[in-house]
């Protein structure tokens, strides 16, 4: 894997919304390959991000979080670089994905 960076700044717009868009980002960045080939993945949300929705984030990382099995394991591999205002939604999404598997 030549690059282990998921840079949302490469994508159009600054509002990251909708599960289909999140799933498309998963495909575009080859996150499945990064899971197996990268020790650390750098995930960057631009400073001028307007909004991130839980559907988008879960569409992109939901499967991966479930596969990793814990917030600690996910965050150890996927290093988040994001504006502070996204901290809440990202934490919430990680917890949601983990709860979903037990429901």
């Amino acid at each position: 894997m030549s690059s282990c960076i998921v840079d949302f700044g490469q994508l159009g717009g600054r509002a990251y919304a909708g599960r289909p868009n999140g799933q498309a980002a998963y495909e575009y960045f080859h996150i499945d390959k990064m899971m197996s080939e990268c020790e650390i993945v750098s995930v960057k949300f631009p400073d001028d991000t307007k909004t991130l929705t839980s559907s988008y984030f879960l569409g992109c990382f939901g499967k991966t979080i479930i596969e990793m099995g814990s917030e600690e394991a996910f965050r150890k591999k996927f290093k988040m670089e994001n504006p502070t205002k996204l901290n809440g939604i990202i934490s919430k999404c990680i917890k949601t994905a983990l709860i979903a598997t037990s429901y």
Binding site: A15, Y56, Y103
Partner: protein, 441 residues
């Protein structure tokens, strides 16, 4: 801006009285309604006509002349708000849609003079229905004349002129009102058959960005601005609702409207209406009856209370819970959007409930098919022992009790062909907005 003096106010009052007197003569609002390019709306309201069959007759239509050319008068009731009187509003929209298909009906007079209460959602639906009829007639080479009488309240006149039927028809606006500059409107629509392209973004993402920019421009009028957190959260929830409307309606077509009347800085409310036409929540679950993974999430609740409430109503309540989705078989993390919205509403309504008068309480209504759900802060989402957010609209917030029929009810004889959410809240929550120039988030 003109300086407001006693003489100015007096003259405005006189002018207003004169104007009201003229209205009694029922001057037509529309003299030169231009051809309205409403292809998309036309498609929408065909759907409303087809599905919302008027089973409840309200005697408000009066033929003012005899066939073959009929001139009809539509008397808008005292409460023409979807928040307060959804059945009459939908009934009027439904009847109007059907009348519009009758070529013998050549004109309609819409009389708002007795109306005391309305809201953004009702006026949008009315305006778009009339615009659809006019566009449809023009397409077929016919004519449809619309006239009307304004309501008495100036706030409501501004709503009609800026987003309601007068605006939709580009009609002649007889009423001078300098305060109309303080009204700010936002509207965006989804695109049919929009292709997914993550490099250019989509209409939904642009709408979210536009909506937060819009709210900031509204807040600027009172020297405030959204906090970073407020911008994220509002965008998040609006995005979730539009995303749901786009994915689940079956049409991919949604609308979002925002309306803020900043005339009175002490009482600034934001109204937001988001709707998608197509399938209702019940319709989409009904189509998944044979999918056990999906249906097993709602079936126990529906069975437990089916002797008390309709399956339609219970399915809708069950569908609001976290991790309940018609696509849960594809992805176990689905089923977040509505519960997120209700949690957001908790944030914006909490401050209003504590110690404030009842008329300041925020309101949210969800109408999907023939089911109406009111949210005013009485029942709010809570996490169960497993951390799952639920809202069952009963005092203990438990699945084993039926929902309170005051908050969750079936509409009598009418239905909305899709899902509509209307929210009214004061722009004053400190967790979402701050003073302009204040660096603290």
């Amino acid at each position: 801006m003109k300086k407001v003096t006693d003489s100015y106010t007096f003259l405005q009052g006189k002018r207003y009285q004169r104007w009201l007197k003229n209205q009694e003569k029922a001057q037509p609002l529309v003299n030169n309604a231009s051809v309205v390019n409403k292809e998309a709306h036309l498609e929408h309201f065909r759907t409303i006509s087809r599905r919302s069959l008027p089973s409840k007759k309200i005697p408000r239509w009066t033929p003012a002349s005899r066939p073959p050319k009929q001139r009809l008068e539509l008397k808008i009731p005292e409460d023409f708000s979807l928040l307060g009187n959804p059945e009459d509003v939908l009934d009027i929209i439904s009847q109007l849609s059907h009348m519009g298909e009758d070529r013998q009906v050549v004109s309609v007079h819409i009389d708002h003079s007795k109306m005391l209460e309305d809201d953004l959602a009702a006026e949008i639906l009315l305006g778009q229905t009339v615009a659809y009829i006019e566009a449809s007639r023009k397409k077929k080479g016919g004519k449809f004349h619309v006239s009307g009488t304004y309501p008495q309240d100036r706030e409501k006149i501004r709503l009609l002129n800026s987003v309601g039927v007068v605006k939709e028809l580009n009609a002649k606006n007889d009423h001078e009102d300098s305060d109309v500059e303080k009204v700010q409107i936002f509207k965006r629509h989804g695109l049919l058959h929009e292709e997914l392209n993550i490099h250019v973004g989509d209409q939904k993402s642009r709408a979210i960005t536009g909506f937060t920019d819009y709210l900031n421009s509204c807040l600027a009028t009172i020297g405030k601005v959204l906090t970073e957190k407020g911008e994220q959260r509002l965008g998040e929830y609006v995005g979730e609702i539009i995303g749901n409307a786009e994915e689940y309606s079956g049409t991919g077509y949604w609308h979002i409207y925002g309306y803020v009347d900043g005339t009175n800085p002490e009482k600034i409310y934001a109204e937001v209406v988001i709707y998608g036409l197509g399938q209702s929540i019940y319709d989409s679950f009904d189509g998944k009856r044979n999918n056990h993974e999906v249906y097993n999430r709602i079936e126990p609740y529906v069975s437990a209370h089916s002797h008390l409430c309709s399956e339609r109503l219970l399915t809708t309540v069950a569908a609001l819970q976290q991790f309940v989705s018609t696509k849960i078989d594809e992805d176990p993390t689905r089923g977040q959007g509505t519960i997120d919205l209700l949690e957001f509403f908790n944030t914006i309504s909490r401050e209003c409930i504590e110690g404030l008068s009842e008329n300041k309480i925020s309101k949210l209504k969800l109408i999907t098919g023939g089911v109406s759900i009111d949210v005013d802060g009485t029942y709010l989402p809570q996490q169960d022992a497993n951390g799952r957010s639920t809202i069952y609209f009963n005092d203990l917030n438990v699945e084993s009790m039926p929902p309170n029929e005051k908050y969750v009810k079936e509409l009598n004889g009418v239905s909305f062909p899709g899902t509509l959410i209307t929210i009214k809240f004061p722009l004053r929550d400190d967790s979402l907005i701050k003073e302009s120039g204040d660096d603290n988030v």
